[in-house]
Symmetry: C2
Subunit: 204 residues, 2 copies
DNA sequence: ATAGGAAAGTGCGTGCCACGCATCTTTGCG
DNA sequence: CGCAAAGATGCGTGGCACGCACTTTCCTAT
């Protein structure tokens, strides 16, 4: 990768991170595109070369995460059962790295509160869902490779991808919106949700 | 219901219908909020008393449809198995009424082409997904009633609702984006998708 | 029946935003 | 070293979301 592309990725990451940080800290409406661009050290006009709007910038980290899930699924051993491979590909993307867990930041509750507010903004919800949905194509392709099905003709791989997205959405919502953000591990919720979906959701 | 509420519903329906018709005919960017308001016989300012933007107006019919699914599910006999009730609640909402099938309009292919274009607009995709997701609360409540589970504490009813949405999305996409909009019935795709999801999506 | 008040519709003004276009700067390569 | 392509920037414009104040319409309680 040349200098060109790596700088582009760095700018994109800086913009996305700045967008999230500022929105969590100040609230969605109180953050201007100008602020985000400034925080990322770039011109306001350049912001729109990367994202079509504030909401897309905020959701782009979720998009990247879902695309990494598709990649991760493609790299699981072929002998592994499908849903086990899915779980192994999904969970790591939602477990905070050591750089987060090492710092038990005192403002964690403020951060979570800001996150909740951010996720309650309609435009953010919409763009987040769209990000996940657009990544489903890549996930479906990986599922197609693994199961020998064709995403263009069979619904099966697309259904699996959409079901995975659904499980992720429900688990995330249960974790953040419901009061789970304090006591439980989100990874456990994810595993639970994915197992239930893969079991066909029979009435209990 | 008083005159007040029925007028409100009529205005909302008129705005939503006008938005869809104009966007399908002319393309998303070529339609101004002013045009939609004019076609609905209402002031431009009033448009924003009903919808936060063009995209939400376009997606509102899908929102209504998903909410009717929740209602319909609540009215299925309690003895009916859950997933059978779901299928019976979902399918009728996607089968065109006799007022559509009676008229084999000559411009049907143009309409479908416009529809495809409309569904390809990012803002429309995002708002459509958000509409379905917000209706999931109602669907989850109905599932909770039927199965004796609590949407506030258990993920199960929310997972069912999200899985239903996922199946609807995949079947719709397969029908419109894929070439199924001409030969097949969308109802068959929906039944197939819902059955696969309820069977746990085992690899074929 | 009617008066009072709530709810909906409207007009205006404002600030933000998405994006086309032209220009300048940086990068990769011969 | 110099050139062509890609990216960053500045400017201008049309549109949009929404707060606010005012008018109109409808419901309700006396």
């Amino acid at each position: 990768m040349g200098l060109r592309e790596s700088k582009k990725l760095a700018t994109r990451a800086a913009l996305s991170w700045a967008a999230i940080r500022l929105v969590v800290e100040r609230g969605y409406d109180a953050v201007l595109v100008e602020d985000i661009a400034g925080a990322a050290g770039v011109s306001p006009r350049t912001f729109n070369n990367y994202f079509s709007g504030k909401a897309e910038a905020v959701a782009s980290r979720h998009l990247d995460r879902c695309l990494r899930i598709a990649d991760g699924l493609g790299e699981r051993p072929a002998a592994e059962p499908l849903w086990e491979a899915i779980i192994q590909a999904v969970v790591p993307e939602f477990t905070p790295g050591p750089e987060v867990t090492a710092h038990p930041r005192p403002d964690r509750e403020a951060w979570v509160a800001g996150l909740r507010l951010m996720l309650a903004v309609p435009a953010v919800q919409a763009e987040t869902l769209r990000a996940a949905a657009s990544a489903e194509t890549a996930v479906a392709a990986a599922v197609g490779d693994r199961t020998g099905t064709n995403p263009a003709t069979d619904m099966y791989p697309k259904l699996v991808a959409a079901a995975v997205t659904a499980a992720i959405n429900v688990a995330s919502q249960h974790y953040y919106v419901g009061g789970g953000a304090d006591r439980g591990q989100i990874g456990d919720l994810l595993v639970d949700a994915l197992r239930q979906v893969s079991a066909g959701l029979p009435p209990p």
